[in-house]
């Protein structure tokens, strides 16, 4: 499953693990950011900051790490991914579309009555979304269940929950953390978007979760701390996780909210609002394109 596949647009639909090289991943992460900003300009509703911060490690997951089959989302050889922080749909949908789950143009119907890209992930509407989310703190438990089922079936499937940091305040997360260690689920490799921001401000000010690494260690997990924007480092982190036996792994991905859009970076006001048209156009220029050009690319 880990045979390296050449990164060409078409091969993004390929079954299995793409294992793209870092430069190709960086390029794709840039495209994902452009998708995110463009879809939010059209939707005029939705979350900007988290998705832009997740773009880098998210791209590593979808285009390097995970074994997937977009054409057949329920492929039995697939790895399982689930975003417990359902509000980051712009990056989830962009990664899915770019990977080939559905046409990129569908992103332009984000949060509309007609589109399938709901405000929060809906298994009922979007091909490839296996479990709905949007209420924080529920997803890690689902992944524990998936890992237990895969073990029962003798399926080596790896399981990739993605969580946000504010979400770590939910007690249900710690129930799931405790049970994953209790059942020694070493197929679980969670990633936490550790941007230290939530809706009302800095996570440490709202309700401190530090020292998060020590918390996970005390709960019996293997912890890897990494710069979530350093693509080679993120690749190494997931490689390391695959070598861990007898305990689950959490990758604490230090990120900057709204990364790569200067006037949005590390600002909690961008947690849940979309850019106005002009703000979005400025953002896209910083991202090396224009609204018209990128929208045309998305529609093509």
């Amino acid at each position: 499953m880990s045979t390296h596949v050449e990164p060409t647009a078409t091969r993004a639909h390929a079954r299995g693990r793409l294992a793209w090289p870092p430069d190709a991943l960086a390029e794709k992460a840039l495209e994902v950011r452009r998708d995110i900003v463009t879809m939010l300009i059209d939707a005029q509703s939705g979350h900007t900051g988290g998705p832009l911060g997740i773009a880098d490690f998210g791209t590593v997951l979808f285009f390097h790490e995970m074994s997937l089959d977009p054409a057949n989302p329920k492929w039995e050889g697939r790895d399982f991914w689930h975003f417990s922080c359902g509000h980051v749909t712009p990056v989830i949908y962009s990664l899915m579309a770019e990977r080939g789950y559905f046409p990129v143009r569908d992103l332009l119907k984000f949060r509309t009555f007609e589109g399938h890209c709901q405000g929060h992930p809906s298994a009922h509407d979007t091909p490839g979304i296996e479990v709905s989310s949007g209420s924080l703190g529920q997803g890690l438990s689902v992944c524990v269940g998936v890992a237990l089922a895969s073990r029962l079936d003798g399926n080596p499937r790896r399981v990739y929950p993605v969580m946000s940091d504010g979400e770590q305040q939910e007690g249900s997360i710690w129930e799931a953390v405790m049970s994953a260690a209790h059942y020694k689920l070493d197929t679980i490799c969670a990633t936490i978007d550790y941007n230290d921001i939530q809706i009302d401000g800095k996570v440490q000010t709202v309700m401190g979760i530090a020292p998060l690494a020590e918390k996970y260690r005390a709960f019996g997990w293997h912890v890897i701390e990494v710069n979530g924007h350093d693509i080679p480092a993120v690749i190494r982190a997931y490689d390391e996780a695959r070598t861990v036996k007898g305990k689950p792994t959490v990758v604490l991905a230090r990120t900057i909210m709204s990364k790569n859009v200067s006037f949005m970076e590390d600002d909690y006001h961008w947690h849940g609002k979309p850019p106005k048209k002009d703000e979005g156009e400025r953002a896209l220029i910083e991202l090396g394109t224009t609204y018209e050009a990128w929208k045309a690319r998305m529609l093509s």
Partner: protein, 320 residues
């Protein structure tokens, strides 16, 4: 059909029907899994645990996680049943039930033990009496309330066969066995357990036995009461309810649950929309339970045949 009560009537636990059915399901279907929240004997899931340890998951005192783990098992094609006391099964993990289970429409079954005031000495916190209202409000959720041991077995098997989330309510105590293996049971359909023309008593769970006793008492006073065992509260058998309203002109509902939004509410909603008739409700009147012997509490909370008889007479008096 007219159910004839054996004298003396045998007593058995509905939760044992759950536990026994799980073992049979485990034998029939390797996909069936069971999860429990540190209550394997109370929920009688220990029978399954002994037989299929690899498919039994002890989740500890963590209901939210138990619900989510069951969801994950279902995503991978398993048929998970998770179980704890109903008060916690319906309330502690409701957000997970709503979003992860119901919105995704996953094939997860919830066994809520210790439902009703008849739970007894444990008192109010452990007497689940709000689950009907809660589960009825959730899209995609089904709700079954078996009346005895045999029906509990059938309900558990039917839940496994029905795709999507299902909540099944069980009691704590031995309750009268009113059905046998051959009594018909169809998920989503009520059963007439006693024919009658003057009014219809619609009951579920332990109250089905009280309803049958009330029917006997009313018969002695020349009042002909139909008894409907409405074991499935959701999806609701509207057709049978409307037909009973039309044919008998008055209804009494009987449930071991709060009066707001439960069986009485479900019946009232159908009746006013399709065929308005007088309905009297025998239920817990919007109050918490307390400690006491199950029998004492059933008496004190007005959940006996005599209370159904009194309600029947009030309903008849209002019938025109």
């Amino acid at each position: 059909m007219n159910i004839a009560l054996a004298e003396p009537v045998a007593m058995k636990k509905t939760r044992e029907g759950f536990g026994r059915a799980l073992v049979e399901l485990g034998e029939e279907n390797p996909s069936v899994c069971v999860l429990v929240g540190d209550l394997s004997e109370s929920t009688m899931t220990h029978f399954f645990a002994q037989k299929f340890p690899e498919r039994f998951f002890q989740m500890g005192v963590a209901e939210q996680n138990m619900c989510g783990v069951a969801a994950g098992l279902a995503v991978m094609g398993k048929i998970p049943f998770y179980s704890t006391y109903g008060a916690f099964a319906a309330c502690r993990d409701l957000d997970q039930i709503r979003v992860t289970l119901c919105y995704t429409n996953l094939n997860v079954k919830i066994g809520g033990a210790h439902g009703g005031i008849s739970v007894g000495p444990d008192g109010a916190t452990h007497q689940a009496m709000e689950e009907f209202a809660i589960m009825r409000s959730l899209p995609h959720m089904s709700l079954v309330v078996p009346c005895d041991f045999h029906e509990a077995k059938k309900a558990t098997k039917a839940a496994a066969a029905h795709p999507g989330p299902v909540y099944i309510r069980f009691g704590r105590e031995d309750v009268p066995v009113v059905t046998d293996e051959s009594t018909p049971f169809t998920f989503g359909k009520g059963e007439i357990f006693g024919e009658g023309t003057d009014l219809t008593i619609v009951a579920c769970g332990t109250m089905v036995y009280e309803a049958l006793r009330a029917r006997e008492a009313l018969a002695r006073e020349k009042i002909s009461a139909r008894v409907v065992n409405l074991h499935t509260l959701k999806p609701l058998d509207r057709e049978l309810l409307v037909r009973s309203a039309r044919e008998t002109g008055a209804l009494v509902t009987a449930e071991e649950h709060q009066v707001n939004g439960g069986l009485g509410g479900a019946v009232a909603e159908v009746v006013v929309r399709e065929h308005p008739v007088p309905v009297e409700m025998v239920a817990v009147w919007d109050r918490f339970g307390q400690s006491g012997k199950p029998a004492e509490l059933m008496d004190a909370f007005g959940l006996r045949a005599k209370d159904i008889v009194a309600a029947a007479k009030r309903a008849l008096a209002r019938k025109h």
